[in-house]
Symmetry: C2
Subunit: 297 residues, 2 copies
């Protein structure tokens, strides 16, 4: 009637090892009758005798022997469960699903993944690159563990930790190199090339220029910073890119880069995760590692 118990299996294993109720009971730190009862109940549950109670000795039955073998395996596996938990409590193990927005991914991801892998070799890192709203949704749904986005996200369910703050630079055609940075008013008069809608970087750029984000704009939208820079190089207009993208994107285009002196446009990159995530503490450690990774560059 009653189900099998791990306790019964442990007692059984002890008795099988000692071949003596008294000694086995002592090894289990219980009294001999307690062990007798558990063994008896185990045998009743199985409907088979496990031990042959001789006058002077207790012996496993034939079935008891094959049973004992299996039980030893099971107990070992169960004990390994505990080890597994203990191990994963300290060091970070298993899968870590990171979301990241497209205006960060190409520039920071190699360094981030490198440093994380070095810091947590047992971590299986999976990356998903898409826009912030989708990342937030997937984070909520438990499809992601954390995301690297531009702050603030301002979702009360998420914890936010800043990673780095970086300026935007103006990208103009190469022939405009050396010209001073235009004022915002002048900027609004230029043909400003931006990312497609949905990219937070688009909104941040518009915001810097004091242009309402909702309003339909004339002009072309690019699907990546790389595309935008190439368009600038072709003389189609100007654009912004974040500082971290400068080196990569302006290398092979006839463009010039201009930094603003005062009131520099900037964005804050940060990590977010569900507050309810029990990994919160370890995500904090990860955030610190990523922080260092980004500062170092």
């Amino acid at each position: 009637m009653s189900n099998l118990t791990l306790k019964q299996l442990r007692y059984f294993a002890a008795l099988a090892r000692h071949g003596h109720f008294g000694h086995a009971a002592e090894a289990c730190a219980i009294s001999q009758p307690a062990l007798s009862m558990q063994i008896k109940e185990l045998e009743e549950t199985l409907g088979t005798m496990l031990f042959e109670r001789g006058a002077r000795q207790v012996r496993l039955t034939g079935f008891g022997e094959v049973f004992a073998e299996r039980v030893r395996e099971i107990l070992r596996d169960v004990d390994e469960l505990g080890d597994l938990a203990r191990a994963s409590r300290d060091r970070l193990v298993g899968r870590l699903r990171i979301g990241i927005i497209p205006t960060i991914a190409p520039y920071l991801l190699p360094r981030i993944i490198g440093d994380l892998t070095r810091a947590f070799p047992e971590l299986d890192i999976q990356v998903r690159e898409t826009l912030t709203p989708k990342l937030a949704q997937e984070l909520s749904d438990g499809l992601l563990d954390t995301a690297i986005v531009a702050l603030p996200v301002s979702d009360p369910a998420f914890a936010e930790v800043p990673i780095l703050t970086e300026n935007f630079v103006l990208v103009r055609h190469a022939r405009q190199a050396g010209q001073p940075a235009p004022s915002r008013e002048k900027l609004r008069g230029m043909r400003l090339l931006l990312l497609e809608e949905g990219h937070c970087f688009r909104d941040q750029a518009l915001s810097f220029c004091s242009i309402p984000t909702g309003r339909p704009r004339e002009g072309l939208d690019g699907s990546s910073l790389s595309t935008l820079v190439q368009m600038v190089g072709a003389g189609i207009g100007v654009t912004f890119i974040p500082e971290m993208a400068v080196e990569v994107e302006t290398r092979s285009a006839s463009v010039s880069v201009t930094r603003f002196d005062d009131a520099q446009p900037c964005r804050t990159i940060g990590m977010i995760w569900r507050r309810s995530n029990p990994l919160a503490g370890q995500l904090d450690r990860i955030a610190r590692v990523i922080h260092c990774a980004c500062q170092a560059g």
Copy 2:
């Protein structure tokens, strides 16, 4: 502090499957708080969170997922334990160690093993051939499960079941073929070839001739019935062999076989096993199979 419990693992598996405390509890046929408490205790035992309690849903943590995988395996193994027991309750499985005396083994063993293997294909039969006292000792020590010997053994610790009763025949030289069976008095005057001391068959033959068994005898002792028959064929004396040995042993020797008319000498072959052996019932079944095997011949 408290140890892992199978119950906890079962509840955990249910919750992992349902992702909902209420539903999982229902599936386990317990109340929701009971499940909550067990899960909580499991998590405390492990020192790690297994589930992420969201506002609207319950999700496994990363560690919880790898944990769940292992737990499923363990639960499956444990359930197989029950199956294993249930299976071995009916049909006979595992090792069966049979002891048998030398004056039976060559003649009955092939048929016995054949029939047993046919009746219980999952039985792993091991045979040990030696004299009755040694068999009895090994049976007591648990080195054998059963033995096929001449009854009675009269050990109160052993159960005895007769298998067959067979007569002894007198083996004389071929030139004496057709001569009537001698009386016991005449027998005592002949040179009687017997097995070495320790063989019960020796004692039974002596007993038939009303010769005290303990007394030192003139004459030669053979180590097997085959040897004895060959010696008879060489004209050295006469001997007894059991009926079952006639066909095999007298085929290639110049001997004649004589059966007694009245007061035929005989022995009863039977199976013995420890009364305390929980397999007693199944040994009974085996005895019946062997019984049939011997009758059929």
